[in-house]
């Protein structure tokens, strides 16, 4: 095996042909095929070529040359419904690792290919390798990513920053708390104190068996295969609200009227129902379209259902600083929220479980059979826990906590809507 330089030449560099010839010299297979596949492998890494296309392009040649075609890019051809996108715009899939690019090269030796692949752009792959790959051995075990959270209720101080940050990020309307902070007590008469009272935030649980997706009559509510996020397609949803009545957790918030995000708010509680104050332009600052081409991010339009999306616009952004984060997680001042792949022992959620082995671990409403993906560590509300006001209130932060009361107030003060 010849000594390869630190940064070997890529397909556009002068030494490329020499390098390929050198590497493949010792392999009994078609040099030209290997070279073409290597060049295309670089294109996959750069996002210029899809894995599905790559697979199809070389199927015949690979089978002719090697007798079999066991390349892992085969899976990219399989369609699994509208949420399965075989054409990623950027290398965003955790499986898009150096090792898979290696396998795509076919008959090139492992050592040579490892050096070649050293040049492959690892953009987006900022997470540690999936379980089982630490030893560097290529394997075919699929690692099902399921995004979720471990939320530490022992650390939670009920500051409501998570709720506020979510609202600022997603521009949700008054009274819509995609993550809502429960504050409870065993003695509702006493003041909130650390001894007797506790708090937790409740985002969407992004269940593994989400009852909301089963009842939806239009396929607007769906669970993505590749990362397990449960989303609502704002173009398909007819606003029947069946998902809302079927969800055990109360995480759905319907857009009853014109969206009234916090940007439009005065100081204090805003009367959110005057149409002339409703905005014309979309204040949501990110891309609403997911990587599988559905309109899912940010607050919903009028007449449609919305809920926590695990900041899907961040996960699909292609920006390594945003992927793997959520607005609530970043805003939490006591690091109570840990977002990531809950199936990956090296990712934030499981890491936090390891850091706090002393705490109780529970999930909400396990008996419903929905298999939620939020794990709570720390004190849990008992069956008789009563809600109390915490150290911070929604109203103090300019938010309406219970939308129903705001609407009822409006109707008693003004009679009826003047829209």
């Amino acid at each position: 095996m010849e000594q390869l330089p630190e940064t070997p030449p890529g397909p556009d560099d002068p030494g490329w042909d020499e390098r390929v010839a050198g590497t493949l010299e010792e392999v009994d297979f078609d040099t030209d095929l290997g070279k073409r596949m290597a060049e295309d492998a670089f294109r996959i890494a750069d996002g210029e070529l899809s894995k599905a296309e790559f697979h199809e392009r070389y199927t015949d040649a690979v089978e002719a040359e090697f007798g079999v075609d066991e390349r892992p890019t085969k899976s990219a051809l399989e369609t699994r419904g509208p949420e399965r996108d075989p054409l990623p715009k950027v290398p965003d899939d955790r499986e898009q690792t150096r090792r898979n690019v290696l396998k795509a090269l076919g008959g090139v030796t492992a050592a040579g290919a490892a050096s070649l692949a050293g040049c492959v752009d690892d953009t987006g792959d900022s997470d540690p390798p999936a379980q089982g790959d630490d030893d560097g051995i290529i394997d075919d075990i699929p690692h099902e990513t399921q995004l979720g959270m471990v939320i530490d209720t022992d650390r939670c101080i009920a500051c409501l920053q998570c709720s506020e940050a979510c609202k600022q990020e997603n521009k949700t309307s008054q009274g819509a708390h995609w993550t809502y902070v429960f504050r409870w007590s065993q003695d509702p008469e006493a003041d909130y104190d650390d001894e007797h009272d506790d708090s937790m935030t409740r985002p969407c649980q992004h269940c593994t068996d989400p009852s909301c997706t089963y009842v939806c009559p239009t396929e607007a509510r769906f669970k993505r295969d590749d990362d397990g996020v449960v989303l609502t397609d704002y173009d398909l949803c007819i606003g029947c609200r069946y998902c809302q009545v079927a969800c055990p957790y109360g995480v759905n918030y319907f857009q009853w009227g014109e969206p009234d995000p916090p940007e439009m708010a005065d100081d204090g509680i805003r009367d959110s129902l005057h149409k002339e104050e409703a905005f014309e332009n979309d204040h949501f600052e990110h891309d609403r379209t997911s990587r599988n081409d559905r309109t899912v991010a940010g607050h919903p339009p009028e007449g449609v259902m919305g809920k926590c999306t695990f900041c899907v616009h961040r996960q699909d952004s292609g920006d390594p600083d945003l992927e793997g984060t959520t607005a609530c997680e970043q805003a939490c001042p006591v690091d109570a929220i840990h977002f990531g792949d809950i199936n990956n022992p090296n990712d934030d959620p499981q890491q936090h479980l390891e850091e706090r082995p002393d705490l109780d671990r529970t999930q909400l409403l396990e008996e419903t059979g929905n298999d939620p993906n939020i794990i709570y560590v720390g004190p849990q509300p008992s069956r008789n826990a009563q809600p109390v006001q915490g150290p911070q209130s929604y109203e103090n932060l300019g938010m309406t906590e219970h939308r129903r009361e705001a609407i009822d107030d409006r109707f008693t003060q003004e009679g009826e809507t003047d829209d």
Partner: protein
């Protein structure tokens, strides 16, 4: 523990709810007197109405969209 059986709709509709309809069509076709022209009128009514309803829903949606603008 999670939900094991949720994709039951095809069995519910085509295996249970539609059973009387299958019997009805059987009765139409096989029952005396044999008169396939009249059966044809009946089936034309059934499928024609279904088609008409699909179209009506589409048109209705468009009209409502105009009212909502």
């Amino acid at each position: 523990m999670t939900h094991a059986v949720t994709y039951i709709g095809v069995y519910v509709i085509f295996g249970i709810v539609l059973l009387p309809v299958y019997a009805m069509i059987g009765g139409w076709l096989l029952g005396k007197p044999r008169d396939f022209k009249t059966v044809g009128i009946g089936l034309a009514s059934v499928f024609g109405l279904i088609a008409a309803m699909v179209v009506a829903v589409w048109i209705g949606g468009q009209l409502i969209g105009l009212l909502m603008a």
